[in-house]
Amino acid sequence: MALRWPRVLGAGAAVIVLGAAVLWYGSAPRPASAETWEGLGEPEFARGEALFWAGGCTGCHAADGAKGEEVRILSGGLALTSPFGTFHVPNISSDPEAGIGAWTLAEFGNAMTRGVGRDGEHLYPSFPYTSYVRMSPADVNDLYGYLQTLPASGNVTPPHDLPFPYNMRMALGPWKFLFFADEPRVEIASADDRIRRGQFLVEGPGHCGECHTPRNALGGLKTDLWLAGAANPEGEGRIPNITPGSRSVGSWSEADLVSYFETGFTPDYDSVGGSMVEVQQNLSHLPQEDLAAIAAYLKAVPARE
């Protein structure tokens, strides 16, 4: 009897050490295999540009208030406030020092689809790799190729300003384990090619769900309320429900949605508002068939009230 306790304790300690090792290993940043990014050939710049507008890179990565051609200068510098602290958006212009001009495709691709930074560190999901993971290596190659054609900026951006415990990148490992997956957000049984294209654009590069879907206390998306509307991460008000069950946009037709994406006018000819203004201005660069695909998908997702 007297001998049992040390044994139990020993076993307990072994379990804890093993558990910690599994957690450590299991939560380590995981870049894609090197060959993922090999042999992709020359990027298709037009496809890359479409992904650039669909993704709205410029919404966060251009200087605050950038207009016209300035939106193509991805100098960073915008401060995103959140319940977890302030994220300072980095310079992703083609500048080799201040931007990402000297990055390899693999480094860019691992950031985009694995949430792994250039130094092998976990990236915060304020950068929505949780959506971009749905982009293929060819998509990443095209987008990277296009970004490299944009102007360089020497702007040096500050590091994120996050209080403990959110400043511990290690904690992002378990977070990714819980909330980071490349599966479709919703299953649409009857999806045709157009809806599938819309699904790719909305769930992938467009990262619409990052604002339009509510989050839990840990910042993970409540996927059963996909696109059902959420608190505005930037403060006041709410980001609207955009499912067919929405009281505000549920009654909009696909043509209404396409017209809204193109022009910024709602069906009663009021103008687009809030953070959607720049999203809409980015979307207006997409070909009409892509906008129609997004509209078709939004009409096909499960209705939520």
Binding site: T263, G264, F265, V272, V277
Partner: protein, 148 residues
């Protein structure tokens, strides 16, 4: 009998007068100018969406209304009209009047340029809507209260 009908007449007259006065309150005047702009944009939008066939007269009339109304618009914000009649105008209209006016000028020039070029088919009306839309939301975002 005579007294009461007289009172009724006075009451009716004052009712008329007060509604006539309300019509001329700057808040109401500017709201009506905007509503007309909205209707004009709507008429063009119906063409752009293919709900109505292309009609040059409708497009011209719409662009004319937009440009006439937006030209008059910045003059409808005299001191004392900051509140009331459910105005959505933000204090910044009075704090930065020149910027406000130049935003209105921007829509005016846009509408004038479109009138000069005259969108000639459905696609061109769509492109016109795109250009107008960007101007509308630019100004609304700065100078108009957010909708909840």
């Amino acid at each position: 009998m005579r007294l009461s009908s007289c009172a009724l007449a006075v009451a009716a007259a004052s009712l008329c007068l007060s509604s006539a006065l309300a019509q001329e309150e700057p808040q109401v005047v500017r709201q009506n100018l905007m509503k007309e702009i909205g209707r004009s944009v709507g008429a063009m939008g119906a063409i752009a969406k293919g709900e109505k066939p292309y009609d040059a007269a409708v497009v011209e009339q719409s662009l004319t209304t937009i440009s006439t109304n937006i030209q008059a618009f910045p003059d409808q914000f005299p001191p004392g009209s900051e509140e009331g009649h459910e105005t959505d105008a933000l204090p910044i209209v009075w704090e930065r009047p020149e910027e406000f006016r130049s935003q209105a000028d921007e829509l005016y020039s846009e509408a004038q340029a479109l009138l000069a070029a005259m969108p000639a088919d459905q696609a061109a009306v769509g492109e016109a809507m795109r250009r107008l839309g960007a101007t509308c939301s630019d100004c609304h975002e700065t100078f108009r209260a957010k909708k909840q």
